[in-house]
């Protein structure tokens, strides 16, 4: 292999893990583009979209062709319609992949690898629009992609870690906030279970709830704020902050704010920044050190031995 090039599985070139949240009654759609959002790196070309389906337990189930995205176009794919016969009542993970048609025209399969230079393989910021709605209701959407090299084993080095924080937890009689935590890897053989500990804090800073979850790879779990926080919701919105962490792997959080008021069923969804993006140290490697230190300090403050059942 040329020193400058890197082998990449076509499925991992551009991908996004997406939680299918059947337990919340939400429909899922994904939007795909055939253009570089930043412009200039790759001329627009035809892409093929694929969907990998995992079971609620994290087992590979199927891979479907979503369809073609012609040059200079946007396509919306109604994933829920394609998944009608897969786990209709349960939450599970799917992964959306985009592959330039020219790679597949050479007789390759989506599972094949290609050798690309850093410039050829630069598909950073090629993200998927993930959209949720109650049937017939207003939609909420968010855009993100699989972080490079997500949850791969690194011989001789500790696993990746997570530090999550957000202030988007709101409760009222009709509003509830859910954290959807995705545990995905770009390595199909990845098998490390991750323990994820979390705390919720009221406005004044007092801790109001804590929990611990275990995640098998290629799964998704929801944290239901209304079930977790011991308060009686009132008309006024109550605000809470969230801190979560794991030393075992990277979990991608999506935060959903649902309003279930009759006639106004609404969904808003956002992701969170990884903690390291909040720091600008003199030495870039100190970003990771600071995050690891923070996780260690949280674990020292709240030691736990046994997992709490999910």
């Amino acid at each position: 292999m040329n020193e400058q090039t890197k082998k990449v599985t076509l499925l991992n070139l551009i991908s996004t893990p997406v939680p299918v949240l059947n337990s919340l009654g939400l429909e899922t759609s994904v939007g795909l583009s055939s253009e570089d959002p930043v412009g200039g790196r790759h001329p627009s070309e035809t892409y093929q979209g694929y969907l990998t389906i995992y079971s609620p337990e994290g087992t590979f189930v199927d891979r479907l062709l979503l369809g073609e995205i012609p040059p200079h176009r946007r396509r919306l794919f109604r994933v829920s319609r394609l998944l009608q016969n897969y786990f209709p009542q349960r939450d599970h993970l799917v992964v959306v992949h985009r592959i330039p048609q020219r790679f597949l025209s050479a007789g390759r399969l989506p599972e094949d690898t290609v050798e690309l230079s850093p410039v050829e393989g630069d598909y950073g910021m090629f993200r998927t629009l993930v959209q949720y709605s109650f049937p017939g209701g207003a939609n909420g959407s968010v855009i993100y992609e699989t972080p490079s090299g997500l949850n791969t084993r690194r011989p001789g080095r500790p696993p990746s870690n997570t530090l999550t924080f957000t202030s988007k937890i709101l409760l009222s009689k009709t509003v509830n906030s859910y954290l959807a935590l995705l545990y995905y890897s770009v390595d199909p053989a990845f098998d490390l279970t991750a323990r994820y500990q979390f705390h919720l804090f009221a406005e004044e800073g007092q801790r109001v709830a804590s929990g611990l979850r275990e995640f098998r790879p290629f799964t998704v779990q929801l944290i239901d704020s209304k079930e977790t926080i011991p308060i009686d919701p009132v008309d006024r919105l109550a605000c809470f902050s969230f801190v979560g962490y794991s030393s075992d792997g990277i979990l991608i959080p999506l935060i959903l704010n649902l309003d279930t008021d009759k006639g106004r069923e609404a969904v808003a969804v956002e992701h969170t920044h990884p903690a390291q993006s909040y720091t600008y140290p003199f030495r870039p490697q100190d970003k990771q050190k600071l995050k690891v230190r923070a996780v260690q300090q949280w674990k020292a403050l709240f030691p736990t031995e046994a997992p709490v059942p999910a």
């Binding site: 939007g31 583009s33 253009e35 570089d36 959002p37 930043v38 412009g39 200039g40 200079h72 946007r74 396509r75 919306l76 993200r127 998927t128 209701g137 207003a138 939609n139 909420g140 959407s141 855009i143 530090l163 924080f165 957000t166 202030s167 988007k168 709101l170 509003v175 804090f201 406005e203 004044e204 800073g205 801790r207 919105l237 605000c239 809470f240 902050s241 704010n257 309003d259 008021d261 006639g263 106004r264 069923e265 609404a266 969904v267 808003a268 969804v269 956002e270 969170t272 920044h273 993006s277 909040y278 720091t279 600008y280 140290p281 003199f282 995050k291 923070a294 300090q297 949280w298 403050l301």
Partner: protein, 292 residues
């Protein structure tokens, strides 16, 4: 243009006072396009707010220092700066924030406290959380260190249905111990963004494409909406320094275009990551927002 390696050498080896002098000289001649981060402080972004008697803006500001330093004393102070859509300062509100706490404020309440009337009903805001003393003592005083506050801002429908977006770019640097707002981008450029979202305009009562100018240079931005047959419509607007503009779209604006799977293109964005916010309003009154 000065490259990143030269900047790194300058930061590392040239004394602070001298390096700042070099920086300002290079900036004057257009040879420096980023600030010199030689101290300690916080990089803040400019956010869109709306408080028009119908929609409101909710700030639940989290003490993120408590997240990074749960073992240190992280009580702190902060200041909220409010600006009009033209980039003019409306006022500022100081506040305190305990460890692991949230500072919660509606922008409609903030405007009332300031006695401000803003006819446009929207503008920009900036929030500065000071680095707590114990955190400052923890950081190596010989090395520069900055936090990049990328907090979440909420928007509320009249029925208190919420949605959120996060910070995406950088606007000002606030060095620790000083109150001067130092612009992160000395001059505005003209970047293009091609949002991935397929727009079906029939779903919305109104769709706002919101753009903020995070630089000191007034910039003309152009929004183009194209359909699947490549028919298109374009609108342009001059956005003043640190101002914001909302391109409003509904069925009347896009009449004649195929309404499904339309695509957006924004040209002239002054800062690299200053991509648009899409703010959706539905016939039911529901709202949602996202960053592109």
């Amino acid at each position: 243009m000065i490259g990143p390696e030269a900047i790194s050498v300058l930061k590392r080896y040239v004394p602070q006072g001298l390096s700042q002098g070099i920086q300002s000289t290079l900036q004057r001649f257009g040879m420096w396009d980023q600030p010199l981060l030689t101290e300690r402080g916080v990089i803040n972004d400019l956010y869109y707010w709306v408080a028009d008697g119908h929609l409101d803006t909710l700030l639940p500001l989290q003490n993120y220092f408590s997240v990074f330093f749960p073992d240190l004393k992280t009580e702190t102070r902060g200041t909220l700066f409010l600006y009009s859509c033209h980039g003019q300062k409306i006022g500022e509100i100081p506040f305190t924030l305990g460890a692991n706490a949230l500072y919660r404020l509606r922008v409609s309440d903030a405007l009332q406290r300031l006695g401000a009337k803003v006819p446009e009903g929207y503008g920009t805001l900036l929030c500065d959380l000071h680095i707590p003393e114990e955190v400052l003592r923890f950081l190596n005083p010989k090395e520069p260190f900055y936090f990049w506050d990328r907090f979440y801002i909420g928007y509320l429908s009249p029925e208190n249905q919420p949605c959120f977006v996060h910070g995406v770019d950088k606007t000002y640097i606030l060095h620790s111990g000083r109150r001067e707002l130092v612009p992160f981008y000395p001059t505005g450029k003209g970047y293009t963004w091609l949002p991935e979202i397929p727009v079906n305009i029939e779903l919305y009562r109104r769709l706002w494409v919101i753009l903020i100018n995070r630089t000191r240079t007034s910039r003309r931005l152009t929004l183009t909406v194209s359909d699947r047959q490549d028919a298109c419509r374009s609108w342009s607007h001059q956005i003043p320094p640190f101002g914001v503009h909302r391109f409003e779209l509904d069925r009347t604006h896009t009449r004649g275009l195929d309404p499904e799977e339309m695509r957006l293109k924004v040209e002239g964005i002054p800062s690299r990551w200053g991509r648009p916010i899409l703010f959706k309003q539905f016939p039911s009154g529901a709202i949602s927002a996202m960053h592109c």
